[in-house]
Amino acid sequence: MTLRTPLYDAHVAAGARMVPFGGWDMPLHYGSQIVEHQAVRSGAGVFDVSHMTIIDVDGPQARSFLQTLIANDVGKLEVSGQALYGALLNAEGGILDDLTVYRTDQGYRAVVNASTRDKVLAWLETNRQPGAAWRERKDLANLAVQGPQAVAKMIELYNLPELARVPGFHALVHGEWMIGRTGYTGEDGVEIMLPATQAVDLFERLLAAGVQAAGLAARDTLRLEAGLNLYGQDMTEANHPYESRIGWTVALEPANRNFIGRAPLESLRQRYTRKLTGMIFTGKGVVRHDFKVRTHAGEGVVTSGVFSPTLECSIALVRVPRDAKGDCEVEIRGKWLPAKLVQPPFVKKGLVVTS
């Protein structure tokens, strides 16, 4: 049985093609994923991300609990509303999930993937510490409004001039809503966590104000252009942070913070042999997950590949030997064709940054 978000009927009414995704019926697109992608880069788009898992953590030991579990240090979150991005690791340093954590007035709020919900909740239980409690917020919906016009639209619709002053990776609490200046597209924008009963109204008001409804397909092309990983594709439990472009999220300082997975990372940090990087293919074709790559330093594989509406050619994230760079080849339908390794992101604030 697939789950439905509070916006299911609204998606169908807006012309969505619904598909199953991680146990949920979600909008793949509303007609054209390319139109939706371009709307986010040039104006504003709205995504239903209510399938993601919101977990509130509190109690006197909430901080030390999360400091044990997350490779980034929530101790860095000094004020309510501040957020960080990081990973949950297993004892071998393998990535269990990536997540965003906000500090709140009550404690912390973690947003984890839909596909890893059961695994993460079980992991919290396995590592339960006294003084820390958590609850899943199934009563909340989550909408992402993204694009250069996103914040302006929200300010206009909801009379929230203070939203303009919220820095990136901080959240504003507005009544029962938590509005984070965060996102998965590489554009400015917000992610709004609100009571599920209010989600349809927000969605419909955004559409009426000219914000483009955008589905999972556009979400994938936007995040890849922005160089952001998709857990389960670009990184899994078989990968550690240094070979997944998220080594920067591992906080080894302070040295006495003993988080799960720390020990293997201390040596992997110097001795890792592979990396995740970007690839551009300008030929006639689309590079896809699991396609093989050949570099001057050895073989690799495509972890995610799409057609980039902004670059108008195919781009990918690839896992290759650490020293690989420059020209490479990718196998497409039996033929080895030339491509180029590049450092992501491919697009920043709507402009192509890779050559």
Partner: protein
Amino acid sequence: MSDIPRDLKYAASHEWSRLEADGTVTVGITDHAQEALGDVVYVELPEVGTHFDAQGEIAVVESVKAASDIYSPVSGKVIAINDVLEDSPETVNQDPYGDGWFFRLLPDDPSDLGGLLDADGYAEVCANDEH
């Protein structure tokens, strides 16, 4: 429900064929097919002058979702290809039966078209396709 013009012939592999007054056959992909594919980003067309047998792999259409082979509906020689699709592959999505045509064949035997499906036959194929 997709659009299935009654004056065309169809293959179960979702190509449409139109017999022109001059005896040539124009071929493209159906509305059902373009809808299932999503945004088309590349089309690989055959070389003019090449001969293909019926059901031979004659073209490739690549969308944001996947690459799909296009099969020749009848045996014949390619006499024209639609250059518009080189720069504007999205035409396949926008006008699959008109400006989104792929290629034109000179059939070895025009009566071969009789072996293709009519609109009702193709509608049944599509109905079985929906899950």
